[in-house]
């Protein structure tokens, strides 16, 4: 079974040279630590920055320079700053190549829910609805089951939707799966030591298993 760090590490392998990437809050943020050496990637932070750098050294924090998770960060050579409308303009115009975000639920037709639990939790969608409605390529990073032990990969989402038919790939602590255009979670890889039966038990939606399913590799 993978840790959150390992989920992030596995997702980082999907990032290609020359990509502009938007990372959501939570596990997606960790992906920045594992971008393969030797490739050039620009991280977009939707509060208005391209070229997000690492956290500042102690004592060098700047209250005016934060990321979308409100964390203090730095810029890099070649960074640019812009306003919120332009930030979502470049997202809507599909200039951003890859979006990685968390989810509470994903359905087998690619719907995603991650912003609201009616009557219990209302944090808001932030930029997630804009991102999922426009991104060319979206990967969801999440736990396979919720804290109550219920599958988060469902035939149909039960929570209010963030977007419809938009998720193409999911990486969890158990598996890497593609969401097929015709519906269903196609199992691509399993975490080391995790059986297909266990993944099946943890997946409420339609799981498609064809041929040998290799273990996930992080190198």
């Amino acid at each position: 079974m993978f840790s959150k760090e390992e989920i992030a590490q596995r997702i980082a392998k999907e990032i290609k040279d020359g990509y502009y990437v938007n990372l959501g809050i939570g596990i997606p943020t960790l992906v920045a630590n594992y971008i393969p050496k030797g490739i050039n990637v620009v991280l977009q932070s939707e509060n208005g920055l391209l070229g997000m750098g690492p956290f500042p050294f102690e004592g060098e924090e700047d209250a005016d320079l934060i990321n979308a998770g409100k964390q203090t960060i730095t810029t890099l050579p070649g960074s640019s700053i812009f306003d919120s409308a332009m930030s979502f303009g470049m997202i809507r115009a599909q200039k951003v190549d890859l979006t990685i975000l968390g989810a509470m639920e994903v359905s087998e037709n690619g719907d995603i829910a991650n912003w609201k639990i009616p009557g219990k939790m209302v944090k808001g969608m932030g930029g997630a609805m804009d991102l999922v409605a426009s991104a060319k390529n979206i990967i969801v990073a999440m736990q396979h089951v919720n804290k109550a032990g219920e599958s988060k990969l469902l035939p149909k989402c039960t929570l209010p939707l963030t977007g419809v038919k938009c998720i193409k790939k999911i990486v969890t602590e158990l598996a890497v799966l593609d969401v097929l255009p015709e519906g269903g979670f196609k199992l691509l890889e399993r975490a080391p030591g995790v059986s297909i039966e266990f993944i099946q038990q943890s997946t409420a939606g339609k799981l498609i298993v064809e041929g040998e399913i290799p273990e996930m590799r992080l190198d």
Partner: protein
């Protein structure tokens, strides 16, 4: 040049009365108009509709106005950092319109550009699409969202001049320039106010035509929400 300077936050907001619709710049606590928010708290105006990406935290920013029940309705995209906000929302004391962040920014932009509405794919097929016009362009559905209509926009800039021209610093720019364009009356508080002519026209982010009142703010706290650092090397 037309002089836009007022003495301070109290004068800048003096005609804001109960029931007004306000836009407030900032993302989280970054780039919020601290002076004007404090003045609004002191003035105790009520029944406000506030358009702002976030709602501050419990003891800073718009959170201070929420605590005093000055806000009737919030229009925001993300409110996760404010427990009092979530409590008022879940209990029904506060009316809340949660909208996608890009929609929020672009509805400001539309107002400042004189366009009545925009079309965006954000929220298509979700509960926020209920009751909204959907138009299909080239096989893809878009929601029609209206330009905001705000009585006042209140923004924070780094530098400004007496003619109302503004320059923002780093990611504290965020919603400030688009909101500055969108208010019937726009109030700008700045960290450094200079004479017209001292700012290079090529580097102005918001032209003074959009700004009606400007003043040099004071005692900026610039609170950091998530202080994240790395250790020095060696």
């Amino acid at each position: 040049m037309i002089n836009k300077v007022v003495s301070g936050a109290e004068e800048a907001i003096k005609d804001i009365s109960d029931g007004a619709t306000l836009m407030l710049g900032g993302f989280g606590l970054c780039g919020i108009p601290e002076n004007c928010i404090n003045a609004l708290v002191n003035k105790q105006v009520k029944n406000l509709t506030c358009i702002s990406n976030n709602a501050g935290v419990d003891d800073f920013g718009i959170g201070l106005m929420l605590k005093q029940r000055q806000v009737k309705k919030m229009i925001s995209s993300y409110v996760g950092e404010n427990a009092e906000f979530e409590r008022q929302l879940l209990s029904g004391e506060l009316e809340v319109d949660l909208i996608p962040q890009g929609t929020l920014a672009t509805r400001c932009l539309a107002a400042g550009y004189g366009m009545p509405a925009i079309f965006t794919p954000a929220g298509v097929g979700t509960e926020i699409a209920e009751g909204k016009e959907v138009r299909n362009f080239d096989g893809k559905d878009y929601l029609m969202e209206y330009a905001f209509d705000a009585d006042y926009a209140i923004v924070k800039a780094w530098k400004g001049d007496t003619a109302g021209n503004l320059i923002f610093r780093s990611t504290s720019r965020n919603f400030n320039p688009v909101m500055a364009m969108a208010g019937k009356i726009t109030i700008a508080e700045v960290e450094e106010l200079v004479e017209a002519g001292e700012l290079d026209p090529d580097y102005i982010h918001t032209p003074g035509i959009y700004v009606h009142r400007i003043f040099q703010g004071k005692d900026y706290e610039k609170r950091i929400e998530q202080r994240t650092v790395r250790k020095s090397e060696g």
